[in-house]
């Protein structure tokens, strides 16, 4: 029998606010354990959480960028569970009235694009970090992450393959980066996905029994987990067995998922309305203002870039990264040559990134430098070979291109008098070769050209040098 894979994703995104969702502790990543905690996020008795306004703003912005409806009246709910990653023994989340609902993301090319529906987006707090293997007897807990604001973005089960799931989450990630609500660094855990997966015979409209795999934090792991889990479920059904609804842990190094042995037999969160946070009412004016401030998103950028003369493929790669897009636009603004800007980014920059094992987000130089280099080539101040070297220096050390060319004497020699004088000296100093040339050995000319170019640091037009040389010899 042929089977169809049905995937829905719950994506948790840490918001790029300065402070936690309910207290004023910093959200900075990588602090010493338990140095970014206070009475509120440690859940001490008698403390009162106060909602961070920026979290609501970011949530509304996200919802609008993902084509959602925004709920005007918001409440929070208390999700009770007993586990040391959350010292209050409950998580403040939104169950009954999520801030955004019914949106979508389009994946695939414009002709064959597919809508992946978004069911809802809700605000909640992250939990602390448990370290199980540092100590033999005990689990160690760091609460710095506890209370960091999260959006949980829940899709409908609209994806039918690992590829579609990865495409969805990549698109989601780049949109979130464009609107500036999260850095979405998967290696730092600021974007994590839970996979809900079931299989069913092709043509069936009923959903199969699903399993859940939690906290996937790389695109590759997501793709591998979906492939392996769908194969596992299909094999079970083929044997006449049943899929059990359960949470499974994906072991990426083993390439296999395991049923989680849960100490909590009953998942009873005893949800009830959170009494500590008053309702949040979002006005239509606020929604309109937020909508107006949403920057150009990747689909629109691709359209605009192709109008500037880029191929679809090039436009997609550049618009697919908020950092490449920023560099491209800045470069285009400086040099006014979109194709050249794209070439430099797609050939030279990508190679530099690849060779230094860096990501576009690691670029650390003035974004107007590339445009300036392109202008110098166009104006005949430097040749393309020099430009490459200068750009490497920009990439590595953020040098100022014009100053660097000046200080290192890399500019093209365009002044004919200088070239003439240099070639004249070469002719004087190489009497032997001059005589050889005059006696008919044409190869000697190549040698003299070489010597002249060397004297000019290779920075003079070869044609001008040859012409002057022939002139002097004849």
């Amino acid at each position: 029998m042929n089977y169809e894979v049905v995937v829905g994703l719950e994506v948790h995104v840490e918001l790029a606010t300065k402070t936690k969702i309910f207290c004023s502790c910093t959200t900075e990543f990588g602090g010493e354990p338990n140095t970014q905690v206070c009475e509120v996020c440690l859940g001490m008795p008698g403390t009162l959480p106060v909602l961070n306004r920026a979290v609501v703003d970011f949530a509304v912005r996200t919802g609008l960028a993902l084509n959602c409806e925004v709920a005007c009246c918001n409440k929070f709910d208390r999700k009770n569970y007993f586990y040391p990653d959350l010292p209050k023994a409950y998580q403040i989340s939104q169950l009954y009235l999520p801030i955004c609902h019914d949106g979508f993301i389009e994946i695939g090319k414009s002709e064959t694009c597919k809508k992946i529906r978004i069911k809802e987006i809700h605000m909640e707090e992250d939990a602390g970090k448990l370290i199980h293997d540092a100590d033999e007897i005990n689990t160690l807990v760091d609460y710095n992450r506890c209370g960091v604001p999260l959006l949980e973005i829940v899709s409908q089960p609209d994806m039918r393959s690992a590829e579609e799931a990865v495409e969805y989450i990549e698109k989601l990630r780049v949109i979130l980066q464009y609107i500036g609500v999260s850095d979405c660094k998967m290696q730092e855990g600021s974007l994590r996905a839970d996979i809900n997966l079931s299989v069913r015979p092709v043509g069936s409209f009923e959903l199969g029994v699903r399993t859940e795999m939690k906290n996937m934090n790389s695109f590759k792991a997501i793709a591998r987990a979906i492939k392996a889990e769908s194969e596992r479920q299909i094999a079970l059904l083929e044997k006449g067995e049943k899929v059990i609804q359960e949470t499974r842990r994906w072991d990426d190094s083993e390439g296999q998922s395991y049923a989680m042995r849960s100490k909590e037999e009953a998942q009873d969160y005893k949800y009830f309305p959170e009494p500590d946070i008053p309702p949040v009412v979002i006005s239509q004016e606020q929604i309109d203002a937020t909508r107006a401030a949403i920057p150009e998103l990747p689909d629109k950028k691709i359209e605009r870039y192709t109008q500037l003369g880029l191929t679809d493929h090039d436009a997609e790669i550049i618009a697919g990264s908020v950092y490449l897009a920023k560099l491209f636009e800045c470069t285009y603004e400086v040099c006014g040559n979109a194709k050249e800007a794209a070439n430099w980014i797609l050939v030279d920059l990508l190679k530099l990134l690849h060779d230094s094992a860096k990501q576009p987000e690691d670029m650390d130089f003035n974004f107007d430098s590339l445009g300036k280099i392109i202008l110098m080539v166009e104006k005949g101040k430097i040749n393309r070979g020099t430009a490459k070297k200068v750009f490497e220096k920009v990439f590595e050390e953020n040098i100022n291109p014009a100053e660097y060319v000046e200080d290192n004497n890399l500019g093209l020699v365009t002044d004919t008098d200088t070239i003439y004088a240099t070639v004249e000296t070469v002719v004087k100093d190489n009497e032997k070769s001059v005589n050889e040339y005059k006696s008919g050995k044409t190869q000697a000319l190549q040698y003299l050209i070489g010597q002249s170019m060397k004297a000019l640091r290779g920075q003079a037009p070869a044609q001008t040098v040859t012409e002057i040389l022939k002139d002097l010899l004849n």
């Binding site: 010493e32 306004r53 007993f82 040391p84 370290i131 005990n138 807990v141 037999e265 309702p279």
Partner: protein, 95 residues
């Protein structure tokens, strides 16, 4: 709603406590009393009443996104049953 031994066993599990047999009997009848008392409320017609989650009328109580100093770590760890290398140390949660 009827409270029976199973309900009590389930609540024990959720609350991470273990009762003696006598305590279970006592708990069962206490809980039954409480729940029966609450059942009186169910007799009211709440068809047209909005659910109330807040007993006061405040709304949009929010703060600006500005960092304030956190506790120093020694103070933060003061109530911890055990501390190791700046971490709270708790019984192992995974096997």
């Amino acid at each position: 709603m009827k409270i029976n031994n199973e309900t009590v066993a389930y609540l024990e599990k959720l609350a991470r406590i273990e009762l003696t047999d006598e305590e279970r009997v006592e708990c069962c009848s206490d809980l039954q009393d409480i729940v029966s008392h609450m059942d009186i409320l169910s007799e009211l017609d709440t068809q047209d009443a909005e659910p109330l989650s807040q007993s006061f009328s405040a709304k949009n109580v929010m703060r600006e996104d500005e960092v304030k100093p956190s506790l120093d770590r020694d103070t933060a760890l003061k109530n911890a049953p055990r501390v190791k290398d700046g971490f709270f140390s708790v019984p192992k949660t995974v096997e």
